[in-house]
C-alpha cells in the first residue's frame, strides 16, 4: 500500500513541500513508516531532528492523522492515507 507523507514547517526543507508517496507492506503501522522514513531521509535530516543511532526523531516531532496527533506507533495505516509530519515552532 501507499501512504502520503506531508511535511509541515522546517521538515519541508528535507522532505519537500509536496506530499511524498511512501510504499509500505499491507497492514503496516506507524512504526513501519518510521523505518521507511529512516531509509528515505534518515541521512538527510540534520542531527537536531533525527537520532541516527536510535533511528527516530528527536524531541517533539509529531505524526498527525486527520489533524490529530497520533503517538501510538502500533497505529495501523491504510492505503491512500495522508499523514502529516510536524516539528512545531512554538515561539518564545
Amino acid at each position: 500500500m501507499v501512504v502520503h507523507l506531508k511535511a509541515i514547517g522546517d521538515l519541508r526543507d528535507y522532505i519537500g513541500k509536496e506530499p511524498q508517496a511512501v510504499e509500505l507492506r499491507e497492514g503496516a503501522t506507524l512504526a513501519d513508516l518510521l523505518v521507511a522514513i529512516d531509509e528515505h531521509w534518515g541521512k538527510v535530516f540534520p542531527r537536531y531532528l533525527w537520532d541516527v543511532s536510535q533511528r527516530q526523531f528527536r524531541g517533539s516531532v509529531f505524526f498527525l492523522i486527520n489533524q490529530e496527533v497520533v503517538k501510538d506507533m502500533r497505529t495501523p495505516l491504510q492505503d491512500g492515507l495522508r499523514i502529516d509530519l510536524l516539528k512545531p515552532i512554538v515561539g518564545g
Binding site: I8, G59, S60, L86, P88, I89, G91, G92
Partner: protein, 623 residues
C-alpha cells in the same frame, strides 16, 4: 453603577508622594473600546501623560493592568501587563508578566493599579480584598527578588501572598531592570527602573473575591471546551514537551539564532548545547500560574562546579540564547547561572545578554580603556565573565554603569563607530530571533511599538518560517504554507493583520502561547462574550486591537517617532558573516522600505511619515 460583568470593576489610583490611594469605578465606555491590559494602558497613558516627560520622574505612570480574561480558569489567563513610558527607549513601554499576579489582583478587587508620584523613602504597597496599605520598605533595600518575596510573605504571615517586586537593578535604576513575580519577569523596556525611581520596591497582593461571568454556564462551557480542544494540538504538545528552549536547536538550524552580536543568524552549536541542558540541567516542566495546562516553564539547576545554581524556574529560550549564541558562549551552565542572576537582581535577560555581546565587540575593537575594564576579559565566549558582567550591570559597578544605560546610550557615549554594531530598534535591544530566517520578522521589528521586540505584538518568523497561522487565514492573512520564508513581497499587509490578531493577548490579559496551542481570535471572542455578556465577535476584537496599536503609535509619534525610526540595523539585514547561511543571498533583507510601504498602506498610515492618517483615526474612533 453596576460593575461590568467579568471585570472586578474598580481601579486603584496610587499617589506615592503622599502614600495615598483611592478606588474608583472603571469607566464603562473606555472598557468596551479598549478592553483592558495594554489597550486600557494605551488610552490612559495617551490621555494622562504629558509629552516628553522624564520616564524616571515622578510624573511617569506605572500601570498594572489585568485584562478581562486574566482569570486562572481561562486558558492563558495568568497574565498582567505593565504600561509606562520606557526609560530605556523613551517611548511606549509595555511588559507582560505571567504567574498568578493578574488573576490575584482581580480577585483582590481591582482591574488596574495606576501608580504616580515618588515616595520620599522606600515603600511597598499591600492590596487585599479591596483594601490597601502603604508600608515602609527600608528593610527590603538591597535584597534580591527572592529575598524580598520571602521577607514579605513571612512578615505578612501569608505564604500565598503574590508578590510583584524589583531587585537591586531596579533600585539602581538600571534602564533594563525588570519587575518580577517570583521567577516570572516583566522583563522588557525597563519597568523596574521606573519602580526604582518611584522608590516603590514591591506590591503584595491577596484576593478572595470572585469575578462573576454574565453567562456562567456558557462561560464554563467555552473555557472547558477550549482546554479540551487544545490539549491535543501539536503546537501545544510541542511547547509542553520542550518549553521555549526546545526551539533552540531548530532555530540554529533554521537561521533564526542571532549569533556573535548579530554577525550571523546561526552558529551550529544549538543541538549540543540543548543536549547538555536536557541531560544535566533540566528537572521538570511546570505551569507558571494556577490552572495552566500548557506548562512551558522549566525547572532547572546547575548541580555543582563554577556555575553552581540552585533549582529555579528559568532557562527560557530567549534568555539562554542571549547568553550563548549572542556571546559565543559554549558553556550552558554559565548561561543558566547568568540568567538566574538576572532574575534575582531583576534584570531583563534579553537586553542584558545583548549588552554584554555589544561590550564584547567593543572589547575586541579596543574601544574600552584599561580604567574602564579594570581587568575584565571580555573575549568572545569567555563563560566566566558572564555572571560577573550581570552583577556589574545590576549594581552599576565600573563598566556596568555605562552598560546599564542600554546599548543605544552606551554606544553613543563610546562613539568611534560603536553605534554601527549597537543592535536595537528605537532603543530596545534585539531578542533571539533573526529576520534572516523569515522576512515577516523584519517588518515586525521595524514597526513594533515598543521597539525591537519579537513577541509584542507578533512573532513574524513563526508565520513565514514556522508556518503557524493562529487561525488568522480567515481574516485575510495568506496561508503560511503558500508563503516562502525569504520572499519579501506581500508581507507588509499580512504582518499588519497578524499584529492585530496577536496583540490580543496583551489586551485581553492572557498568555500568547495559548494562541500557538490553538486558541484563535474567534475563541477569545466567544469566551469574552460569555464572560461580559457583550455580543463580541472576532472581527470586533481585531478592530479593537487595531485601535490599540494605532493609539500606541500615536503615543510614540507624540514622543517624536516617525517613519525614519522604523528601521533595522544594517548588520541585521546583511549576509551573515559565518555559519550555515553565510553564502545564502536569499536570506538577506533586501528591501525593507518596500515591505514598509505595503505595511503603511495596509495600516492607513502616511507613506512618508508613518503617521496614522485622519481618515484611519476617524475609522477607529480615535479622532
Amino acid at each position: 453603577m453596576a460593575a461590568i460583568k467579568g471585570y472586578a470593576g474598580h481601579q486603584l489610583r496610587v499617589d506615592l508622594n503622599h502614600w495615598e490611594a483611592r478606588s474608583e469605578p472603571i469607566p464603562e465606555e473606555m472598557t468596551r473600546k479598549y478592553l483592558g491590559g495594554a489597550g486600557y494602558g494605551a488610552r490612559l497613558l495617551y490621555d494622562e501623560l504629558p509629552q516628553n516627560i522624564d520616564p524616571l520622574g515622578p510624573e511617569n505612570i506605572m500601570l498594572l493592568a489585568t485584562g478581562p480574561l486574566s482569570m486562572s480558569q481561562i486558558p492563558g489567563g495568568g497574565s498582567l501587563v505593565l504600561c509606562f513610558k520606557s526609560p530605556l527607549t523613551r517611548i511606549w513601554g509595555e511588559s507582560r508578566v505571567g504567574g498568578d499576579v493578574g488573576p490575584e489582583l482581580k480577585k483582590a478587587g481591582f482591574d488596574y493599579v495606576i501608580i504616580k508620584g515618588r515616595s520620599a523613602k522606600p515603600v511597598y504597597l499591600i492590596i487585599r480584598d479591596g483594601q490597601w496599605e502603604f508600608r515602609d520598605a527600608s528593610h527590603l533595600v538591597g535584597k534580591s527578588v527572592s529575598e524580598k518575596s520571602a521577607m514579605l510573605r513571612s512578615e505578612l504571615g501569608d505564604k500565598r501572598l503574590v508578590v510583584l517586586c524589583i531587585g537591586q537593578a531596579g533600585e539602581n535604576q538600571v534602564k533594563i531592570a525588570s519587575v518580577m513575580c517570583d521567577d516570572r519577569a516583566a522583563g522588557r523596556c525597563g519597568g523596574g527602573a521606573v519602580w526604582g525611581s518611584k522608590n516603590l520596591l514591591a506590591v503584595a497582593i491577596r484576593g478572595t473575591k470572585k469575578v462573576e461571568p454574565a453567562d456562567p454556564e456558557n462561560f464554563k462551557k467555552f473555557f472547558k471546551s477550549t482546554h479540551d480542544g487544545i490539549k491535543t494540538n501539536p503546537l501545544f504538545l510541542g511547547m509542553q514537551a520542550g518549553g521555549t528552549i526546545g526551539d533552540m536547536p531548530g532555530n540554529d538550524e533554521g537561521g533564526d539564532w542571532p549569533s556573535r552580536n548579530w554577525a550571523a543568524n546561526s552558529w551550529g552549536k544549538g543541538t549540543d548545547l540543548f543536549e547538555v541542558y536536557k541531560t544535566k540541567n533540566f528537572i521538570k516542566g511546570y505551569g507558571c500560574y494556577k490552572g495552566c495546562t500548557l506548562a512551558c516553564a522549566r525547572w532547572v539547576k546547575v548541580e555543582d562546579g563554577e556555575f553552581k545554581t540552585p533549582e529555579h524556574g528559568g532557562a527560557e529560550y530567549e534568555s539562554i540564547s542571549c547568553f550563548t549564541a549572542y556571546v559565543l558562549n559554549e558553556n550552558m551552565e554559565a548561561a543558566i547561572r547568568s540568567t538566574y542572576l538576572c532574575n534575582e537582581y531583576g534584570l531583563d535577560t534579553i537586553s542584558c545578554g545583548a549588552i554584554i555581546a555589544f561590550a564584547m565587540e567593543c572589547f575586541e575593537r579596543g574601544l574600552f580603556s584599561k580604567e574602564q575594564l579594570q581587568g575584565l576579559d571580555l573575549t568572545w565566549g569567555n563563560a566566566a565573565v558572564l555572571p560577573v558582567m550581570v552583577t556589574k550591570i545590576a549594581f552599576r559597578e565600573g563598566l556596568g554603569d555605562l552598560l546599564a544605560e542600554g546599548v543605544r546610550t552606551a554606544s553613543e557615549r563610546i562613539g568611534r563607530g560603536a553605534e554601527e554594531f549597537a543592535i536595537h530598534v528605537k532603543g530596545l535591544e534585539g531578542p533571539a530571533h533573526d529576520p534572516r530566517s523569515g522576512k515577516a520578522l523584519a517588518i515586525t521589528y521595524a514597526t513594533a511599538n515598543r521597539g525591537m521586540c519579537h513577541i509584542h505584538p507578533l512573532e513574524g518568523m513563526a508565520w513565514d518560517r514556522g508556518k503557524v497561522d493562529w487561525g488568522m487565514v480567515k481574516y485575510g492573512v495568506p496561508d503560511p504554507n503558500e508563503v516562502e520564508r525569504w520572499d519579501e513581497r506581500n508581507k507588509g499587509g499580512a504582518v499588519a493583520t497578524l499584529q492585530d490578531g496577536l496583540a490580543l493577548p496583551e489586551v485581553l490579559g492572557t498568555c500568547k502561547f495559548y494562541m500557538y496551542g490553538g486558541v484563535t481570535v474567534d475563541l477569545w471572542a466567544d469566551m469574552l462574550s460569555a464572560l461580559t455578556g457583550w455580543a463580541i465577535d472576532g472581527q470586533e476584537l481585531l478592530k479593537i486591537s487595531e485601535r490599540v496599536l494605532n493609539l500606541q503609535r500615536l503615543f510614540n509619534v507624540r514622543e517624536g517617532i516617525t517613519a525614519k525610526d522604523d528601521r533595522l540595523p544594517e548588520r541585521v539585514k546583511a549576509l551573515p558573516a559565518f555559519g550555515k547561511y553565510s553564502a545564502e543571498e536569499e536570506c538577506v533583507v533586501h528591501d525593507l522600505d518596500a515591505m514598509l510601504r505595503e505595511y503603511y498602506q495596509k495600516r492607513g498610515w502616511d507613506p512618508n511619515t508613518g503617521i496614522p492618517t485622519m481618515e484611519k483615526l476617524r475609522e477607529l474612533d480615535l479622532a
